[in-house]
Subunit: 601 residues, 2 copies
């Protein structure tokens, strides 16, 4: 029997015991749903993942897309899988019934998509980007644009991309040079080169809708002069019929370390007369619109990183339970039969660490999805605003914690398998390679750390920061009432106090000292805040588990809840103490690297 | 100009300023050598690495060996490179003049080999294994065996392997089942399957000399019944002429995550009548002989890991100095031209961290080579014994610290390049993949940690442990005299005291408690001891640099020494404090993972 893609029991724990998705059915939008319909969506997703994606995993990884100078070649199994997902209506399960969607709450949808995302490596990225692209046009486009570009994307006939990065600018978006010239008919002509465009060219869909950042002639320099355009691969008539090829050419494919289910392309726009383009919203507001998509994309990156970690954990767990090798240190008889490697304490440590990282990361992402849900559909304005405030604050952590610690989890999965983990007869080395992109794209960890410390923390007079810490405090207070967890509640409280002290100190220093120096340990601050957040989510899980154990559950559930409590203990004993170390570096404004002149390296 | 493979200045610092290789020329064996001859060897190696290896790096990685069922196909550039190394006499530069070697001291040889190993990814592994194989036969074989199998290996005509692991046994060597039957003529017939045999089949050399572990019929079970055999691919007549094919068949190639310069094979021995084999030494002592090779191989693994980290550091440093992107936080003008990314504090942190890990790891390996040299050629018996005692104690750390922290360094090199680090237009993602094998082969990190804590520490009444800590103590005492380094000397002293306390505590607990529990945090102990060792080596480097700065060196050297001091500061501020965290887990016998029942995961 192949290893499970994910633990279904765990998904159900998160959905129904921790984040109580069923309670959302009291909201009007979800009144037709119940646990049965949520489970049905997960069943379908799991079945598709097992049928279409697990069997092709190795083939996708060994056959990345090629470009013969004219056309991109992608193995046909990719399209078969995508078609199955579109057929099942899982392209955009949160979309309105009216647009052909399932109108599922975001967390429930996430539980379903989880199976496909975990099994399909990155090939599902074609659809996630299409979804995000559609959401953006829906939010800022005209009704005509929505009709022409969103409808076929929701139907899975067109796919979408986001085209931001340029070869000379990288993360420095203010320096982009792609130009746009307005024509008399109100359309624009775009010229320039873009790189790292996921899904930038292929024959998987009838058309590709690129969302392109460009600078209108005469616009202000820097980030304030960037506009957003729809630039299709094929022009589309007002009747919706596909017409001529637009001036969007594939300049090359990147050969990636992982994530080979999806092309990463260099595109050249408008080499001759300019590519025909349609402005979204107003000129010079492009970056604001794009951030709409980017914030969503950041949560999706975190979720993908968490899922890749989860599936690697399940794979290595399954392997460790069935692989006999060696004997325990304490074994009296050196000739006794070998034990399964899960019996070795160090293997168990590597498995429990993976559990703590991957399930902790996934809890964080689901919390993000819950906030995003509440931001839109919570019953009162103040609840919606509260959710929005916390989500905005937490986005850099939701993006980067799973992206940093998910790959560490995948690294341990390789180590559990030993030599077998280093070769492609098992997928754990692929999981590692797939996950390694996540700390880079949609804003590197370094960029997220500056976003957190320099923007999100002080923003609106520390409102998001305080609102989120208050949530942690609430949990600490409540958990203190459970005797077996008391010491952990106190440890969490101490870690919060320490974080506050560090924050006050660094914010004070930023008023008088060199900003580049004061914020030079921002990644340590992000690590500290991230670990505190995950400790909080583990304590919440342990609280639920402890309560359930008190109700004498049946034996499989009993084991499951014990596992949750052990992972919490691991995180509190082995990980939470690191927050003090990171905090010291920030508080002391450790300057070892800042003081290092580039020529000294 | 391509990025430098290694920093030549740094290699020279290690050889001439830190480990004083020139002083070895007073030993009889090295009386013909001087700095000039050492430098000449490095010059040749650097030239070969630049000419033959850097240009084919991408091609080797993208074209791993294939097996058509009959023959292994390897791109011809691999052989061209190996031939150049053999031609230059760099196959085994430490070998006696009489055997055609250069008779170089081990550290000097290591400085030369460094360039080739760093540039050739793993393809140089064919020769390193050949060298280790020859050393073993030279140590335990008969004069006839040495003549027949070692001489052609030293000449580069035959290549060698070590064949230990079996599909069913993995690291549990006691369970191996390959059998050997003695024939009337004194030869043996070997039957069985082996996996992970690096260089197990190819046409790069005239013959392949496998060293195979097998169990003679009727031998005791477990590790006490293992013998070592020479099993050639082709039989060789007493005249040295190559004869018939022996029964050694390639069963398959592994498709590895990295290290694609070298085949990793599954071999089947003696499928029909048994492969002709020649016993090395006595029956049932095979594992002891193999450990001779394995201890050497462990130091080589550490060295390879350090070099891969060093070359990744140099590559990302070169990139960061020439890649403009973004502006400093403190920049007043958002429209000012972008700065090179090395100006960003977080990029400098990632570079300095790489420097601290990679140069620290390399210093450790060179210290290992120095001990190995002194073990053989130090003038007095007591010096040789002292070196041997420390080397034996330190081997698990020399093997595993570079293997664990080298890949972390390579991971940061990817991050410095961002998206460009994730694609194969730059080699940093390949460096990461190449390095990832090192915590696995020649004894995983988990196995090394048990070797350290359960064997090497208490061995011979703590003799190796105490001898090594005394060396650290000596440095701390000496460095205290340099005012600018005093606080660091004190910090090192404290860390040693803490380590002693933890060691005493865990050794005490092992006498009364469950051994599997007491030693379940052995990896934390290894981390603690490793970090302490690297801190010590950084303090030694900083002491030399501080002294040299006092002599007002020319400006390039001044920068170089400042870099050394900053890396030491980074290590003491950001890394050494972690030893207290790891020490607590060991001392408190943290049982979160030990207590986790396999069914709870």
């Amino acid at each position: 029997m192949p290893a499970p893609i994910l633990s279904r029991r765990d998904i159900e724990f998160f959905l129904y015991e921790m984040f109580d998705v069923e309670s959302l059915t009291t909201r009007e939008r979800y009144q037709d749903h119940d646990r049965e319909s949520f489970d049905a969506a997960i069943d379908i997703a799991q079945a598709i993942a097992e049928k279409y994606y697990v069997p092709i995993r190795l083939k996708v990884d060994s056959n990345q897309p090629t470009f013969d100078g004219k056309k991109v070649h992608i193995i046909p199994e990719i399209k078969e899988g995508l078609d199955a997902v579109i057929e099942a209506g899982l392209t955009a399960p949160t979309t309105d019934y009216a647009m052909g969607g399932m109108q599922l709450p975001q967390i429930a949808a996430s539980g379903a998509s989880a199976y496909i995302a975990a099994a399909a490596s990155t090939s599902i990225g074609y659809l996630s980007l299409t979804h995000a692209n559609s959401n953006l046009i829906e939010a800022y486009g005209t009704p005509e644009q929505i009709n022409k570009w969103v409808t076929p994307q929701r139907q899975g006939r067109f796919f979408g991309t986001m085209a931001m990065t340029e070869p000379g600018a990288g993360s420095g978006l203010g320096d982009l040079t792609t130009s746009a010239t307005k024509e008399e008919d109100g359309t624009y002509r775009v010229k320039g080169n873009k790189i790292w465009i996921s899904g930038g060219d292929h024959d998987l869909s009838e058309n590709i809708v690129h969302l392109v950042l460009a600078r209108v002639k005469g616009a202000p320099k820097g980030v304030k002069g960037i506009s957003l355009f729809i630039v299709p691969k094929y022009l589309v008539g007002d009747d919706g019929k596909i017409g001529d090829r637009n001036e969007v050419a594939l300049a090359g494919l990147f050969h990636k370390m992982g994530g080979r289910g999806q092309t990463s392309t260099a595109l050249s726009f408008g080499e001759q007369n300019g590519a025909e383009a349609y402005l979204v919203g107003e000129e010079n507001k492009g970056l604001m619109y794009m951030f709409h998509m980017m914030n969503e994309a950041r949560i999706l990156v975190g979720t993908g990183a968490a899922l890749t970690a989860l599936t690697g954990f399940q794979y290595s767990l399954d392997y460790a339970k069935g692989r006999p090798q060696g004997r325990l240190l304490s074994a009296k008889d050196p000739l006794a039969p070998p034990v399964n490697i899960i019996e070795h304490p160090d293997v168990r440590r590597m498995l429990l660490t993976q559990k703590a990282y991957s399930e902790g990361a996934y809890a964080l992402c689901l919390y993000g999805h819950q906030l995003s849900e509440d931001e839109k559909t919570a019953p009162t304005e103040s609840e919606r605003k509260h959710a929005s405030t916390i989500l905005d604050f937490l986005t850099p952590i939701i993006k980067s914690w799973p992206s940093e610690w998910g790959p560490k989890s995948n690294d341990l999965a390789i180590q559990v398998l030993g030599g077998h983990g280093y070769v492609n007869e098992h997928p754990v080395e692929m999981f590692y390679r797939d996950n390694r992109l996540n700390p880079i794209h949609e804003g590197t960890t370094g960029i997220q750390s500056l976003d957190l410390l320099c923007r999100k923390v002080p923003m609106n007079d520390f409102k998001g920061y305080q609102a989120f810490l208050a949530e942690i405090q609430l949990t600490a207070e409540s958990v203190k009432l459970t005797e077996s967890l008391q010491t952990y509640a106190v440890a969490l409280q101490h870690a919060v106090d320490n974080l506050k002290e560090v924050t006050t100190s660094v914010m004070g220093a930023s008023k008088t000292q060199n900003l580049d120096l004061v914020f030079s340990n921002s990644v340590s601050y992000l690590n500290m805040f991230g670990h505190l957040t995950i400790a909080w989510l583990w304590l919440r899980q342990a609280e639920i588990a402890t309560k359930q154990l008190g109700k004498a559950p049946h034996s499989d559930d009993e084991k499951f809840y014990h596992g949750k409590i052990q992972a919490m203990k691991y995180f509190f004993n082995s990980e939470l103490p690191l927050t003090y170390h990171w905090g010291n570096l920030v508080k002391n404004i450790d300057s070892a690297s800042f003081d290092t002149h580039p020529d000294w390296l």
